[in-house]
């Protein structure tokens, strides 16, 4: 489903270039649950943004579902994000002064512009946040905000979910709730790529990719990683 080959990402001008990713090649199959781990600054977020079509690599090719996205224009990338990709962030990033239901509707504005209320209802139920539909983000707990954000990510029925440290701002109980929700979604067929710091969180994934200095330092089944860290 996802095929990255020799993806390099430089930041900054030519005088002080920062290499966030250096020739990363990677394949992720449909329905996989992949965790990306690595120290801070190792390029995890950069990798996810490229996979999520939010950013483009400096060089290399990215093929998503058979289409080469590394050379698409803004409108096409936006449509791909809208139809095929859902995003979940560490700091939830619900739009302020906008209710949970309105946040969840937002991706529909950029599809055909029609609001499918039944679908909104459905995803709100799916993440068990229906009772908060008319509330504003600041009225919600962290766990509730993240569930609302997941509902927003799901509303257009994407095939790929990108989650950058989704439990990073949550206590362990709420974090666990989010993780089991992600596991459920994965069981239902969603492809998930998730960044985490936490080895216990990474254990939920089928495969763990370890980044260091913008390069893939290792790929392993979580059991192996868990064993190594013990």
């Amino acid at each position: 489903m996802i095929a990255l080959s020799e993806i390099t990402k430089h930041y900054g001008g030519t005088d002080h270039p920062v290499t966030a990713l250096a020739s990363v090649s990677l394949a992720i199959g449909r329905g996989e649950f992949v965790a990306v781990v690595g120290p801070s600054g190792s390029g995890k977020s950069t990798l996810l943004q490229i996979i999520g079509c939010l950013d483009v690599p400096t060089s290399g090719t990215y093929v998503l579902d058979g289409t080469t996205v590394s050379e698409m224009d803004d409108a096409t990338l936006s449509r791909i994000r809208n139809e095929r990709i859902g995003f979940v962030f560490q700091s939830f990033n619900l739009i302020a002064r906008t209710t949970v239901a309105e946040n969840v509707e937002t991706p529909m504005l950029y599809g055909d512009g029609r609001i499918d209320r039944a679908r909104v209802e459905h995803v709100l139920e799916r993440v068990r946040i229906t009772h908060r539909a008319r509330h504003f983000p600041h009225e919600l707990s962290g766990g509730e905000q993240q569930r609302a954000a997941i509902a927003r990510a799901l509303v257009r029925s994407p095939s790929l979910l990108i989650a950058d440290e989704p439990t990073g701002n949550l206590d362990s109980a709420n974090g666990a709730q989010i993780l089991s929700l992600l596991s459920e979604l994965h069981r239902d067929g969603l492809t998930i790529v998730m960044v985490t710091h936490d080895a216990a969180v990474a254990r939920r994934a089928e495969r763990v990719i370890e980044l260091a200095d913008g390069r893939i330092a290792g790929t392993s089944a979580p059991a192996v990683l868990a064993g190594a860290s013990r």
Binding site: S78, Q90, S91, L94, L109, Y110
Partner: protein
């Protein structure tokens, strides 16, 4: 601007009422002040013309009155300058081109009129028989006196409708009244003219024949008014100059010596008043325009601030599928819609003020639709222009950077 964008933008404006109000304020003030300035200007112009018409009658005339630069212009209808005479009037009639008719008047401003045991005080005009025609007056009852009445030194009078109402509630023509210790028979009543400048009723007036007054009432020759009806009103300035030259010559005023009379044109007086009025008005319109420009600057500044304050919102919208064009459209619509709403609110407020003013002060105020529409369109244009740069700024925000900054 799609339906969905409009709904989204209206929601944003509604949920940020304070900010929306500040963005709208300059535009509202601008549209209201331009509309009210236009409305009151129009009303003032109409009022000036109406009061002049009440006082002078037909405005296509020239007035010659005693008292000029030699009196420092301080002459009035009761001047004691005795140099302006019926012979001057006859000479003007004979030798100045573009003169259709000439009327003369002697005036006493406060004459006591008695009848039926009542009395009232009124300006008394002793005039030639053509005076009513030159003024363009029409008669409510009876007729104006004639040249024959003048030649016969007839003791007849024509009165204004106020005097008629006061003294003869049941009909004035054929009745008798007494002025300056002389009995007159009322032969006509002038149709109402309304209020002149200063609000005094121009229907409180009495006319008697000039010849009668000259021999029997005032016992003097000099005139207070020569009223010249113009054949071609547009050539009033040339005619005024010719009249001026002739009277100056007849009065033996030569060289640098100052005039003892003056020639005035009601049209020029109105133009002068309208000129003062329009300078003021132009200033008020400028102030309105300035408010619109300030409104535009406020919108531009607040929208620019919003573009950076709402970086996360923008990045999230981009992440869930908004194109750069969508973001640009959203921000641009926000500026355009707030300015359109402000313009409409301003027009509505002005309309309310005008309706209330027209009702409470019984003023002839009406909505100056053309000016208001112009102000509304200019407002929307300014608002849209003000939103252009902020919208581009918002659209250029890189979602990856904004989201990373939020972690």
């Amino acid at each position: 601007m799609s339906d969905a964008t409009v709904r989204l933008v209206l929601r944003t404006l509604r949920r940020n009422k304070g900010r929306s109000f500040v963005m709208a304020l300059g535009f509202i003030v601008g549209v209201v002040s331009i509309t009210l300035t236009e409305a009151t200007g129009e009303a003032a112009r109409t009022a000036v013309r109406q009061s002049f018409r009440a006082m002078i009658g037909d405005l296509d005339v020239l007035l010659v009155q005693p008292g000029g630069d030699a009196q420092r212009g301080r002459a009035n209808l009761e001047t004691s300058i005795t140099t302006l005479t019926a012979d001057d009037a006859a000479a003007i009639r004979q030798s100045v081109p573009n003169v259709a008719d000439v009327g003369v008047a002697q005036v006493e401003l406060g004459a006591v009129v008695e009848a039926n045991g009542r009395n009232t005080t009124t300006p008394l005009f002793a005039t030639s028989a053509n005076y009513a025609v030159i003024r363009g007056d029409s008669m409510a009852q009876g007729a104006f006196f004639t040249d024959d009445d003048g030649r016969a030194l007839a003791r007849v009078a024509v009165i204004g409708s106020d005097v008629a109402r006061e003294l003869f509630p049941t009909g004035a023509v054929g009745q008798h009244l007494r002025m300056k210790a002389i009995d007159f028979t009322v032969v006509g009543v002038i149709a109402p003219n309304g209020a002149g400048p200063g609000g005094f009723s121009m229907d409180n007036i009495a006319y008697i024949p000039f010849e009668t007054a000259r021999r029997r009432v005032f016992n003097r020759d000099y005139l207070n008014i020569v009223n010249i009806k113009l054949a071609n009103p547009s050539r009033w300035a040339q005619t005024a100059a010719a009249v001026h030259a002739l009277v100056r010559q007849r009065h033996g005023t030569t060289g640098a010596a100052l005039d003892d009379f003056r020639v005035t044109s009601p049209q020029a007086m109105i133009a002068r008043m309208a000129g003062v009025d329009s300078t003021l008005r132009r200033m008020l319109v400028w102030i309105g325009g300035l408010a619109l420009v300030i409104g535009g600057i406020v919108v531009a500044v607040l929208m620019l601030a919003a573009a950076s304050a709402r970086r996360i919102e923008i990045a999230v919208r981009r992440a869930v599928g908004a194109t750069r064009a969508d973001i640009r459209g959203q921000f641009w619509s926000e500026a355009a819609l707030i300015s359109a709403a402000a313009a409409v609110i301003g027009a509505a407020i002005a309309n309310g003020v005008i309706a209330a003013g027209a009702f409470m002060m019984r003023a002839q105020l009406s909505m100056p639709w053309a000016a208001t529409l112009g102000a509304v369109l200019v407002t929307i244009a300014i608002g849209t222009a003000a939103g252009y740069l902020p919208a581009r700024r918002a659209a250029s925000i890189a979602p990856a950077d904004a989201l990373r900054a939020a972690e």
